[in-house]
């Protein structure tokens, strides 16, 4: 009897079924682990490759402002523009050679010396001399950026096991580097230039300053346009519109626009805003308009769902007290739906902040060195800057790209955290 029962159990195959159950559960866990694994790899990769950009190698140097070099023919009074064109890097080279006891007749050493510091030293010294020409002939202390290659070597990013001729930094430069570091003349400090400078072909002075301002302009435009238009559309569809053909068409349109690939919006911007209305290329105004159109569906959908979440009893009560339809919507329903509206807006703006493809088409991928002073000036944005740097092969630009990505991700994290906080803190639950 017992025997036969056991037999029947074996026929049902319970063990096999339980094994299948475990396997199935394992697949689910594995899938989640794969997803989280890639998230961790991505974040670790970004941070580990990019954190070093927030420090920059600098060189503190006493530079003798030699009159013979700035003004070799003694004609400064006749030609004041000499102060602008003078060979300032030569002064730095000489100062460096003196400090390191380098023989100035050795050509290879000279080449290494010139490659040791950033050519941005020219502007730095020039500005100080032009501001106060009396310092010519004296010795002044300057803080000069090291060149991009020295910066990489000093941060330990250059593989020293590679033979010297295949390396960007010579052994001679490395010994100098160590010597200067021991004297504390070569040191790392916080990289403010990365946040302030615009585009540059020299990685050590290239920064995200222009991109940050461009992004800021665009976010402001998106906020100013998309929020009122989106909220107005949502209110109309949710509170006023009857089931007419017009309302149906709008609704279908919004759902479709939410799924249109972003690059199509770039084509729209190029054809309509730039070619038809004649707005300037590379201007943050055009970028802001394109991103507004992209963000609208997000804001409309979020606003509609939070309007829908306000219970009808609120509307009925207000109507019962004699409020008009418009008063009900603007004085009762909208304030109650506001947290949801703001959450949706922030999420929409975060999407717009990270968008790249449409901006490439309207010329936001531009080499802009000066700050834009208005939304119609040429400018670029953070993702566009990342795209441009991504096409530069140099090691120092790769570091800067990761750095810009860190900044972008921090902004997005702040925006999304704000959205989550708003939702948790202010959202009401009607029961």
């Amino acid at each position: 009897m017992i025997q036969s029962l056991d037999n029947r159990r074996r026929e049902i195959g319970l063990k096999k079924r339980y094994r299948a159950e475990k396997r199935f559960r394992f697949y689910g866990l594995a899938a989640i682990s794969i997803g989280l694994f890639f998230l961790v790899v991505l974040v670790v990769n970004v941070v580990s490759q990019g954190y070093s950009v927030f420090q920059q190698t600098q060189l503190s140097l006493d530079v003798y402002l030699d009159k013979k070099i700035i003004d070799p023919n003694n004609e400064l009074h006749a030609k004041p523009e000499l102060l602008v064109t003078a060979n300032y890097p030569l002064l730095v080279r000489n100062a460096l050679a003196k400090k390191l006891d380098v023989d100035l007749t050795d050509r290879a050493s000279l080449r290494d010396l010139n490659a040791f510091f950033s050519q941005s030293a020219r502007v730095l010294i020039r500005d100080r001399v032009v501001a106060n020409p009396n310092i010519i002939g004296t010795t002044q202390k300057f803080t000069i950026l090291a060149s991009a290659n020295i910066d990489s070597a000093f941060k330990g990013q250059i593989d020293l096991s590679v033979p010297e001729q295949n390396r960007k930094v010579s052994n001679r430069a490395l010994t100098w580097m160590k010597k200067l570091a021991l004297e504390h003349s070569l040191y790392k400090s916080f990289n403010t230039g990365f946040f302030l400078h615009g585009a540059s072909s020299r990685p050590e002075v290239a920064g995200i300053g222009v991109a940050l301002i461009g992004s800021l302009y665009m976010m402001a435009i998106v906020l100013l346009l998309a929020l009122p238009i989106g909220v107005a559309t949502a209110i109309y569809l949710e509170e006023y519109a009857k089931k007419t053909l017009f309302a149906d068409i709008i609704e279908v349109n919004i759902n479709n626009l939410a799924a249109v690939p972003s690059i199509i919006f770039g084509l729209l911007g190029l054809a309509v805003f730039i070619n038809f209305f004649g707005l300037p290329r590379s201007a943050s105004l055009v970028g802001g308009l394109v991103l507004t159109l992209m963000t609208l569906p997000t804001i409309i959908i979020a606003t509609r769902s939070s309007l829908r979440a306000v219970p009808p009893s609120i509307r009925d009560a207000a109507l019962g007290l004699g409020a008009s339809k418009t008063q009900v919507v603007f004085q009762h329903v909208l304030p109650l739906a506001a947290p949801g509206v703001f959450t949706g807006t922030i999420i929409g703006i975060a999407q717009a902040l990270g968008e790249t493809a449409p901006l490439i088409l309207i010329g936001m991928v531009a080499f802009v060195a000066n700050y834009p002073t208005s939304p119609v000036d040429p400018s670029t944005t953070l993702p566009a800057q990342i795209y441009m740097w991504a096409n530069e092969p140099e090691r120092a630009f790769v570091e800067r790209t990761w750095g810009a990505i860190i900044v972008l991700l921090i902004f997005l994290a702040i925006l999304n955290t704000a959205a989550v906080y708003l939702r948790r803190r202010f959202e009401r639950h009607w029961s």
């Binding site: 109309y236 919004i254 418009t326």
Partner: protein, 485 residues
């Protein structure tokens, strides 16, 4: 008078109108007469009626006068061009607009119109004018500038006149029986409707902007060579000649687009689906509250970051891996279908999982309980009851994700390569529609060349493709959805 100045004056008048209207209504109420609406409604009424007609007039006037001036100027050009430089009409217009950009310099020399002298002055101030120019352009530009100035003043005066007229009339209309609230509410409703038409206008704008360029592209390149051509080689030199036929072949791009999307979906669908099943069926509510947002972080990361990750990290890693496995050159290229597909797949995981999670959770409890009651294990319930019930929704979600994969740009631009191959080797480089749109539109190409126009034809193709997929997805969801309530 500048545009911003006029707008500022308008705003001041309108605010003044609000204050005066409100005060007038308050005074009448203070006298003991009952008003139809609350006083601030009268204020709003005056404000809106003052501001809206004036600002609409201002915009129309600006747009109209620019069109008129352009028309007048371009009507003057051809008669002179034939005698002078053989330059094209649009170039002359561009030169005139360059001259107009700095009106103070345009009138800096008082003598007769002299292009070369003006050109020197512009250059001194850092503005470059074209070398080829003629004196008549200066004449047209100066007439334009004078006329524009005159029209601008006319517009400003008329505009303020309208504003004051509306202002005065509405202010006088404030009487106890005037239904200010109803009028304000009508204006608000019109505003709401206007805002919601923007969604329609955007769609119309997308379609029209691409349609016109696409049509002019197909005037140069025949339809069948675009849709059936297998060679993509939009050389600039070949564009005008007969050999251009067959150079704009869509097929390699289409194949690349679908291939990369397929690789991405092969990776993302199982992972996303199983993750969704685990989250909705197995995970405790605490685990769910942690895992779900973490996975959704993957969807919030900008695509440019994924693209750079693929370019710098994943691509070289896979190439080195293949070298270590097979030696020699390695069988995976640094930019390949596989790299782009894999990274895009990572990005798509949360799309699949979030959408399917919602759908699986929507399957009613009673179906599961029935299945458990019959002795099924959890996995059997999921496989035989829950997933079949949720299948239409899941297929809809997969289609929506696929349409996203097809329209994705930044990952493929950085990770998939630019060579238009037709290959079945997933470790080779292939290119996509979106890459080519970006390639054709970056750089200094003349806007009317087929090299530029083809980007719009590609965009149209992409738009139609994604639209079709979205419509099919919606259709499947609606048609096969099980109604439980």
């Amino acid at each position: 008078m500048s545009l911003s100045g006029i707008v500022l004056i308008l705003i001041i008048i309108s605010l003044l109108g609000f204050w005066l209207g409100k005060r007038r209504a308050q005074k009448i109420e203070a006298a003991g007469i009952k008003m139809h609406s609350r006083p601030y409604y009268y204020g709003w009424y005056v404000l809106l009626v003052t501001f809206i007609p004036a600002i609409v007039f201002l915009l129309l006037w600006q747009f109209g006068s620019t069109l008129y001036l352009e028309h007048v100027a371009s009507a003057k050009i051809p008669s002179v061009t034939s005698k002078n430089l053989p330059v094209s009409h649009s170039l002359v217009m561009a030169t005139i607009e360059d001259l107009l950009a700095h009106p103070n310099l345009l009138f800096s020399i008082s003598e007769v119109d002299n292009y070369n002298k003006l050109r020197d002055i512009y250059t001194q101030h850092g503005f470059i004018l074209p070398l080829q120019g003629a004196d008549y352009m200066v004449k047209i530009a100066r007439e334009w500038a004078l006329k524009a100035n005159w029209l601008g003043w006319c517009g400003a005066v008329l505009n303020l006149l309208i504003a004051f007229l509306c202002f005065g009339v509405t202010l006088l209309k404030i009487k106890p029986k005037e239904r200010a609230r109803n009028r304000v509410e009508v204006i608000i409703k019109i505003g709401l409707i206007t805002a919601s038409t923007i969604a329609i206008l955007t769609t119309i704008g997308i379609v029209l902007s691409m349609l016109f360029q696409t049509i002019s592209f197909f005037k140069v390149v025949p339809l069948e060579t675009f849709f059936l051509g297998t060679v993509w080689d939009p050389r600039f030199s070949a564009a005008g000649s007969d050999s251009a036929v067959g150079q704009f072949g869509l097929l390699p791009l289409l194949a690349g687009t679908f291939y990369i999307a397929l690789v991405a979906m092969i990776f993302a669908v199982p992972v996303g689906l199983f993750a969704a099943i685990y989250i909705s069926e197995y995970a405790s509510s605490r685990a769910r509250a942690i895992i779900k947002p973490l996975l959704e972080v993957l969807a919030g990361i900008p695509t440019i970051v994924y693209g750079f990750f693929a370019l710098i990290t994943v691509g070289p890693f896979l190439r080195d891996l293949s070298i270590a496995l097979a030696g020699g050159q390695g069988f995976i290229m640094a930019q390949s279908i596989f790299t782009a597909g894999l990274v895009m797949g990572i990005m798509l995981i949360p799309f699949v999982s979030s959408l399917s999670d919602d759908i699986i959770t929507a399957v009613p409890r009673s179906l599961r309980d029935g299945s458990y009651g019959l002795g099924a294990t959890r996995s059997e319930t999921i496989k035989k009851v829950v997933v079949p019930a949720a299948l239409p929704g899941i297929i809809g979600a997969i289609l929506l994700t696929a349409s996203r994969a097809i329209g994705e740009t930044m990952i493929v631009v950085l990770a998939a390569g630019v060579a238009a191959n037709l290959t079945i080797n997933p470790f080779d480089a292939m290119t996509t529609i979106t890459i080519k749109i970006v390639n054709q539109l970056t750089g200094d190409l003349e806007f009317n060349s087929p090299q530029t126009l083809v980007a719009f034809a590609l965009g149209m193709t992409l738009f139609v493709l994604t639209l079709l997929m979205n419509i099919i997805a919606l259709y499947i969801v609606r048609k096969y959805r099980e109604q439980y309530e």
